[in-house]
Amino acid sequence: MLELCAQHAYMIAVLPVIAFAIVLFTGRRTPGNGALLPILTMGVSFLWSVGCLAYMLTGGEPIRLGFLWAVAGDTFWLSYTVDAASTAMLVMVSLVALLVIIYSQGYMHGDPGYSLFFAYLSLFSASMLGLVLASNLILLFICWELVGLMSYLLIGFWFHKPEAARACTKAFMTTRIGDAGITVAIGLLFLATRSLDLETIFQKVAAGEVSQQMLFVISLGLFAGAVGKSAQFPLHVWLPDAMEGPTPVSALIHAATMVAAGVWMVYRMSPVISATAGQGPYDATVWIAGIGGFTALFSATIAIAQDDIKRVLAYSTISQLGYMMLGLGVGAWFAGFFHLLTHAFFKALLFLGSGAVIIACHHEQDMKKMGGLAHHMPVTFWTFVIGTLALAGAGIPGLLGLSGFHSKEMILAAAWMQARPLAVMALCGAFLTPFYMTRCVCLTFFGKTRDRHLAEHITKVPLNMTVPLVILSVFAVSAGWIAKPLDAWLQRGYGFQSVVQVEELAAAHGEELEAAHHAAELTVAWIAFGCVALGIGLGLALWGRGPERTAAMVRKSAALRALRTLLARKYYIDEFYGLLVHGAIHFMIWVAVFDLHVLDRVFVRGWGWLVLQLKSIAGWVDRVIVDKILVHAGPCAVFLLGAVLQMLQTGSVHFYLLVTAIGGVAFIGISLFPEDVPQVMGFTIVAAVVVAAAGATLTRVGKKAPR
């Protein structure tokens, strides 16, 4: 039963696609106004994923199966894999997607595009589930692009708002820059290994058949794709703007689907990328760790100065993704992956919580107007606080911690061992995370509601929005406790057993860590504990009693004011990119002008003058020899022939088609009766004569008929 479940794991992704198709075409006529079917299918997908997980947990062998897709020189498969990592991921994605879809019933209530929204959510989750299942670069790339497309459609779901339309275009175009990298990387992988199947690729890489330079370029290309999708530093600009989409979409993008895809892909391709580790100038992991660590700190600073509740969360996502990349980059593959899992739960929780706040405040997202919501919505408040603590990584080392504590601690410890400067950056980020999240909680929930109008109109949040919050908060608290068993289990059940490198690397780390690990881990853990405590304390001190006093303090000091502007404008990176694009456009205009005035004048007109001179010579030949002598002989013959053929030229399309059809009949006749060719030809000629007569009649009718 469980094995059958795992063998047909493709159904996990196919079911929501079916729901998408049905809801897309039947829309409001399906039960629950189009919401019920996506919920049911996602529920079945979730149970199916749990079945696969149970299959792996009961000691099943990893499964890799596929459908044949095309034969063109090589054979190409759409193959999927069920192994420890993918099942863990499947359960997380389908659970978060299920909760988000249930929650959307409340959030999107009364929206004109209600049923369409659920269809989109279904396909969005399906493409991410497919991406997780893929064990083949074709399927991976198809799903990768589908995820991008669906996030485009969902971010721009309220496309009548110009900001939303701009945001979705920006998201699509920005990720496209990264996708150029992954496209090149896939092409190079195929060139180097003649295969797109992950296991074959990993085998060949492990056997050393691919040169280090090539591996370096491939790894950077793959990472470029992840930088776009997972919103790392140079390409992070789309994620905050994506907040224009409905909040459930933000929750899905930030937790389970879009941004997780990049991290997941890097994790999946770890045998290729880790092959470059320690290769001097061809070491791609240094880049991954560097960009990850920088992003973690960089976007955490921006989050301090944002006033939109969703934008704070968006920058915190970028920062957490930076941690994941840092973990992957320093060789702590499991830590990065585990942080992806735990982050999914508490970030979905935070986003759905912020969505509840936004609904309660009638689509107001500005935290400066909120405040005092703790009394109005206690469930949302407490779950939001749990999410905040989990995100901050709150916990006492060696004793107890929320989910974010465990995963972040592992990343920090690994970074501490491998790259001390990056670890310091990450620790600064670990101080900033609780700092800005405390600010967010204080401004939203503490004190009194600052906007008078808002205070009178706070509405209750429906039950189908609060229940997912409670479920997610359970996971946000407890997901970290399975870290140790999951780590051991993943190392055993990674689907591609041929790859020794991962395990060797892990073993090497294990020995190395054995001696120094505990000391380092404890040191880092206590430093991080101090950072978190300091962050929360400072945050409470500054904003615990409302933002007025702090705002006044910032107003008084010129330096603080400048810093605030710099952070609020996100280091002017959007403006910089704008200038870059403008510059490019101006350059193109200049090229066009050059083309018009210089190239056209010299080459086109000069050439024209030359041809004119030649023409006058040719013209003389034409007039004297051709026109006088040759012209008069031809027409006589042509005229006679034309008079006969004119009868066939009826000008009626139907006549021509009829002739074609009769020709087809003659062709079939000849091929059926090859012995009786004369009879067939005779029949055809008779038919042709009849048709010619008919055509002549038609011509006359055509002449008489009025226009």
């Binding site: 459908f67 009826t650 011509t699």
Partner: protein, 119 residues
């Protein structure tokens, strides 16, 4: 390793049914091309004929050739169908563009009024 599509959905409908269906579809398309006056209707009928061919190709690739265990027999016909669909799309695009252009010029899309090529 390989889970074939036909393992999950074995071919139940015999080949001749597909062929009969495609022949009927083709004949309907041919009739439509010859009998419709509206150029758009004719274009639609041509699509019908093309799709009749597609059905034939797919049906033959599914069950027409013996499955020797080798890969190509099963898939070549379906690949052709994909190419044909692409061609059909291009054809429809060009055809519709021509019809639009003709309509702008002549204010009609009735094929028997468009006798500009008459000799």
């Amino acid at each position: 390793m390989a889970l074939r599509f036909s393992d999950i959905f074995p071919p139940i409908v015999p080949l001749s049914h597909y062929l009969l269906f495609s022949a009927i579809l083709f004949a309907i398309g041919l009739y439509g091309v010859l009998a419709r006056r509206n150029a758009i209707g004719m274009l639609l009928s041509i699509e019908l004929m093309l799709n009749a061919v597609n059905v034939n190709l797919a049906a033959f690739s599914r069950s027409g050739l013996p499955d020797t265990g080798a890969v190509p027999a099963q898939i070549v016909g379906q690949l052709f169908v994909i190419f044909l669909i692409t061609v059909a799309v291009a054809e429809a695009a060009v055809g519709l563009a021509i019809i639009v252009a003709i309509f702008k010029l002549r204010k009609t899309v009735l094929a028997d009024e468009l006798t500009l090529l008459r000799g």
